[in-house]
C-alpha cells in the first residue's frame, strides 16, 4: 500500500479510530491491531511475502529469548550467527542471487571461459532490506546485552512490521522502537498535530517535487547520448531533488503517521543539501542507515581508533556495503566507492566531523560566502554521485558525465510531453528557499508560530500539489526497490 494512495487514505483513519477509540484501554489489543494493520498494509502489495516477515520475526523472537537465557558465550555467538545467516540469507537470495550469478558468469567470460549458470526469475520483496536490518539490530543489541529481550511476541512482531516504516524506513533500532511498543501510549494533541503537518510536508515533497520531476529525469537519463551538457546537468540536479523529495517525503509521512499512534521514530533526513562537506552530508542523509552501519559495522571493525590504514579500510568498507545495500548493481557499488573517495580527504586530515554540531551563531560576510561555496561544492559532488546511482550501467554513468564535459551545444531540450521546464526550476527555487527557512528543525516543517502563516502554508502546499499533480506518473517510491 502506498502512502499516496486512496487505499491508505481509507486505511489510516480506520486504524486510527480503532486504535484510539475502540482499543485505547488495552495495550495488547492495540499492539495486535498494529500487527494486523501492518500485515494488511504489506500484504496489499503481495501477501505471499508476509511469510518472510513472519519467519524472520519468529526466528529473531526465539533467538532473542534464547540469548536472554543463555550465559555461555560460545552458544550466544551461535544464536547470533543463526540470526545473521537467516536474515542475510533471505536478503542475499532475493536481492543478490542473480547479481552474483551474472557477475560470476561475466568474470569467467572475460577470461575466455564460457560457463552456463542460469539466473532465476526472482521478485524482490518490497522493503526486505529495511526490515531485515531492523530485526538484525534487535538480535545484535540483545547479544551485546544492550537490550533486554522481550517475551511479548505480539509486541515484538508489531515492532518488526510496524507499518509506517516497514517498507522504506527509517530503519528503527529495537532500543528505540520496542520500548515504545511495550509501553502504554496516550494520545498527545501536540504530537498528533505535528504528525499531520509532517505528513502534509512529506506528501508535498513526494507529489510536487519527486513525482513531477520524475518524467523529465527519466527522459533525460534515457536519451542522454543525444542531449547537450546543460540539459544533462539539469537532469542530474533534477534527480538529486527527485530522490530527496521521494525518500525524505516517505520518511516524513512515516514519522508523521507514527506520531498519530503515539510512537516517535528517528529522523532520517536533516536537510542534507545544506551540508558543507561529505561527512556532514552523511550525517544528514538516510541517517537511520548511516548510523546502522556506523554502529553495527564501522565501530565493530575498529572505526577510526586503530591505525590510519585500518581507518581507511573501514571507511571503504562502510561506503561499499552501503552502496551494495541499495541494490544489486555495480552502479550502486561504484556510487559507494565514489562517496568513500569524497569522504577520504576530510577523514585523513580530520575535518570530517567539522560540522557535526549545528551552531546558530551569527556569521560575518566572509564566513557566509565560504559556507555558500562549501555547500555548493558538496552539492555538486553529491550530484555527480547521483549520476552513478541513477544510471542503468557503469558505462552509462561515465558516458553521461563525459557528455557533460564535452557536449556544450545542442538543440533546446523539449520533453515529449512538452513540460514547461521553467515551472520546475521556479518550483525548485521555492523549495530550496523554504527548506532554508525551516532548516533548524526537520521535525517541524510547518512550525510557524503565527496561525495565519501556517494556514497560508497549508493552502500553498495543497495548491501546489494540484498545480503539479501528474496523473500519468508511477507513484511508487524509489526506495521500495531497495
Amino acid at each position: 500500500m502506498l502512502f499516496n494512495s486512496i487505499d491508505f487514505a481509507i486505511f489510516l483513519p480506520v486504524v486510527f479510530i480503532l486504535y484510539w477509540f475502540v482499543l485505547n484501554r488495552n495495550l495488547k489489543a492495540q499492539n495486535l491491531l498494529l500487527l494486523v494493520a501492518s500485515y494488511v498494509f504489506y500484504g496489499w502489495w503481495d501477501w505471499r511475502f508476509l511469510s518472510l516477515i513472519a519467519f524472520s520475526t519468529l526466528v529473531d523472537y526465539t533467538l532473542g529469548v534464547l540469548l536472554g537465557k543463555e550465559e555461555k558465550e560460545s552458544k550466544r555467538k551461535i544464536y547470533l550467527w543463526i540470526s545473521v545467516i537467516v536474515n542475510l540469507g533471505f536478503l542475499g537470495f532475493f536481492k543478490y542471487y542473480n547479481f552474483f550469478v551474472e557477475s560470476f558468469v561475466d568474470a569467467f567470460t572475460f577470461f575466455g571461459q564460457d560457463i552456463k549458470v542460469g539466473s532465476l526469475s526472482i521478485i524482490l520483496p518490497v522493503g526486505i532490506s529495511f526490515y531485515t536490518f531492523q530485526t538484525l539490530s534487535y538480535t545484535i543489541d540483545v547479544y551485546k546485552r544492550n537490550l533486554e529481550p522481550t517475551k511479548k511476541f505480539i509486541a515484538f512482531a508489531a515492532f518488526v512490521s510496524f507499518f509506517p516504516q516497514l517498507v522504506a524506513g527509517p530503519i528503527e533500532r529495537a532500543s528505540n522502537l520496542l520500548p515504545q511498543i511495550l509501553k502504554k501510549r496516550t494520545f498527545n494533541y501536540c504530537e498528533a498535530k505535528d504528525g499531520l503537518r509532517l505528513m502534509l510536508w512529506g506528501l508535498f515533497k513526494k507529489v510536487v517535487i519527486a513525482d513531477s520531476l520524475s518524467p523529465i529525469v527519466n527522459d533525460i537519463f534515457s536519451n542522454y547520448s543525444t542531449l547537450s551538457s546543460p540539459v544533462l546537468i539539469m537532469g542530474a540536479v533534477f534527480f538529486a531533488f527527485q530522490i530527496y523529495g521521494d525518500f525524505s517525503g516517505y520518511s516524513d509521512i512515516a514519522i508523521g503517521t507514527s506520531k498519530l499512534f503515539g510512537i516517535e521514530l528517528m529522523s532520517n533526513f536533516k536537510f542534507p543539501y545544506f551540508s558543507k562537506n561529505i561527512g556532514e552530508f552523511w550525517r544528514r542523509w538516510h541517517i537511520s542507515l548511516s548510523t546502522w552501519f556506523r554502529d553495527y559495522l564501522y565501530i565493530p571493525l575498529g572505526g577510526s581508533r586503530g591505525s590510519k590504514m585500518v581507518g581507511i579500510r573501514n571507511v571503504f568498507a562502510i561506503f561499499l556495503v552501503s552502496g551494495f545495500w541499495h541494490g544489486a548493481n555495480w552502479t550502486f557499488i561504484f556510487w559507494g566507492l565514489f562517496h568513500a573517495l569524497l569522504f577520504l580527504p576530510s577523514f585523513l586530515i580530520g575535518t570530517n566531523r567539522k560540522y557535526a554540531e549545528v551552531k546558530n551563531t551569527r556569521l560575518n560576510v566572509l564566513a557566509m560566502i565560504s559556507n555558500v561555496y562549501r555547500t555548493l561544492l558538496t552539492f555538486i559532488l553529491v550530484t555527480i554521485g547521483w549520476v552513478f546511482f541513477r544510471s542503468e550501467t557503469i558505462t552509462d554513468s561515465f558516458s553521461y558525465l563525459k557528455r557533460i564535459g564535452s557536449s556544450f551545444s545542442g538543440i533546446p531540450y523539449i520533453h515529449p510531453n512538452g513540460y514547461r521546464l521553467v515551472d520546475y526550476i521556479v518550483l525548485l527555487v521555492f523549495f530550496i528557499v523554504y527548506e532554508y527557512i525551516i532548516r533548524n528543525n526537520e521535525r517541524k516543517p510547518i512550525g510557524f508560530k503565527n496561525r495565519y502563516v501556517r494556514l497560508f502554508v497549508y493552502i500553498l502546499l495543497v495548491f501546489l500539489m494540484l498545480l503539479f499533480y501528474d496523473d500519468g506518473v508511477d507513484r511508487s517510491f524509489i526506495y521500495f526497490q531497495f
Binding site: 494512495s5 486512496i6 487505499d7 484510539w20 477509540f21 494520545f187 494533541y189 498528533a192 498535530k193 499531520l196 523539449i414 515529449p416 510531453n417 512538452g418 513540460y419 514547461r420 515551472d423 494556514l455 497549508y458 493552502i459 495543497v462 495548491f463 494540484l466 498545480l467 503539479f468 499533480y469 501528474d470 496523473d471 500519468g472
Partner: protein
C-alpha cells in the same frame, strides 16, 4: 483527540474554500458548454455560448470558444450557403472543433487567410466518430448539398469503432447533478487534471469485486478488419459522395488494407502524416493530444494544397 479531529475538519473546509477561490482567481478551470440533441437528432452544443477552454494543471493552454447559433465553435453565425460562392466544410471531432485554440485562429481561419475567396464552415464536435459525422452530413443535407467540398477528419484508430449511428452517451454527462457539481470550479479543475481518477478507479474496482466481476481478458481481435467493415457499411448507409467528400487522414495510423481499399475505390484523401514527421517541433499540446498551432498550421496547409490542386475555383 476530538480537538485534533475537529481542527482537521475545520482546516479541511477552509482549505477547500481557499482552493475554490484560487482556482477561480487564476481561472485554472475549464469551461465546458452545454450539449443537446437538436430537432434532426444531431448532437451539438447549445447555441450561443462563449467561454474559455483550459488545458493542463497550470493553464498550459487556453482557448476562447464561441458556439454559434448553429451549435458549433466558429466565428460565423451565418451557415447559409450560396451557390455562387465557394464553401468548404470541415467536419470532425475535437481536433476540428478546436477548443484548445482561440476560435479566431482555427484551422478554418488559417485556410481562409491563405485562400481569401473561400469560406470555410466548421462542424467539429468533441467525440464525433465517422458514423456521427456522416449522420450530421446526411441530416443537414439541405445545407451540405450546396457546399463545394466537405473535408472529413477521420482518426483511424478511434473513429471506426462502429458501423452504425447511435445517439452517444455523452448527453448523459449533462445531468442536473453534474451541472450542479460544475458550479464548483475546484471540482471541475480537479476532475480535468485527473485528481479524481484514483477514486473513480477504486470505486469501480470495489464494485467489480463485490459483484464478482473479473476483468475481461483482452481478446486478440483483428481490429483492422472490423474497422474496414465498419467503414464499408457507413459509406453504403450514407451514400458517401466520393466526388465532394475528402478524408483528412493520418496515414501512419491506418492499416495497409484500409489504405489500399481507399486507393482502389478512388476515395479522395489528404494525408498529413509525412508533413508531421518532417517537422521536428512538437505538433501537439502539453498534457493533450490535440494539435498545437504548428500542428494546425500544417493541417491548414494540407487542406489549402488540396483545394489548390483540385482547382475548385476554376470548376465553379
Amino acid at each position: 483527540m476530538k480537538r485534533v479531529i475537529l481542527k482537521f475538519v475545520i482546516y479541511s473546509l477552509v482549505l477547500v474554500l481557499a482552493l475554490e477561490l484560487l482556482v477561480r482567481v487564476f481561472h485554472l478551470h475549464n469551461e465546458r458548454p452545454e450539449r443537446y440533441l437538436d430537432e434532426y437528432g444531431v448532437e451539438k452544443w447549445v447555441p450561443n455560448q462563449e467561454g474559455y477552454s483550459v488545458t493542463g494543471n497550470r493553464k498550459q493552454n487556453v482557448g476562447a470558444y464561441r458556439i454559434n447559433n448553429f451549435g458549433f465553435n466558429s466565428v460565423y453565425d451565418d451557415y447559409t450557403v450560396s451557390k455562387d460562392s465557394i464553401e468548404v466544410a470541415i467536419v470532425g471531432d475535437s481536433f476540428i472543433e478546436g477548443f484548445h485554440q482561440n476560435y479566431t485562429n482555427s484551422i478554418s481561419r488559417k485556410v481562409e487567410k491563405k485562400l481569401p475567396n473561400i469560406k470555410v464552415l466548421e462542424f467539429g464536435y468533441a467525440g464525433y466518430n465517422l458514423s456521427e459525422e456522416l449522420n450530421l452530413i446526411a441530416s443537414y443535407n439541405h445545407l451540405f448539398k450546396d457546399i463545394d467540398r466537405v473535408v472529413i477528419y477521420m482518426r483511424y484508430t478511434d473513429d471506426l469503432i462502429t458501423g452504425e449511428y447511435k445517439v452517444s452517451g455523452r448527453l448523459s454527462l449533462d445531468t442536473p447533478v453534474n451541472r450542479l457539481l460544475k458550479k464548483s470550479k475546484l471540482i471541475v479543475y480537479a476532475k480535468d487534471i485527473g485528481a479524481f481518477d484514483p477514486i473513480k478507479d477504486k470505486i469501480a474496482a470495489t464494485i467489480n469485486f463485490v459483484k464478482g466481476v473479473k476483468t475481461p481478458e483482452v481478446k486478440e481481435t483483428n481490429k483492422d478488419a472490423i474497422y474496414l467493415a465498419n467503414f464499408k457499411k457507413l459509406i453504403k448507409t450514407y451514400n458517401y459522395d466520393k466526388e465532394k467528400n475528402v478524408l483528412l487522414l493520418d496515414y501512419s495510423l491506418c492499416s495497409s488494407e484500409f489504405l489500399s481499399y481507399l486507393k482502389q475505390n478512388n476515395f479522395k484523401t489528404i494525408d498529413f502524416s509525412s508533413d508531421f514527421i518532417k517537422s521536428k517541433e512538437p505538433k501537439t499540446l502539453i498534457y493533450d493530444q490535440h494539435w498545437n498551432n504548428l500542428g494546425r498550421e500544417i493541417i491548414a496547409d494540407e487542406i489549402v494544397n488540396y483545394i489548390k490542386n483540385e482547382n475548385i475555383e476554376l470548376v465553379k
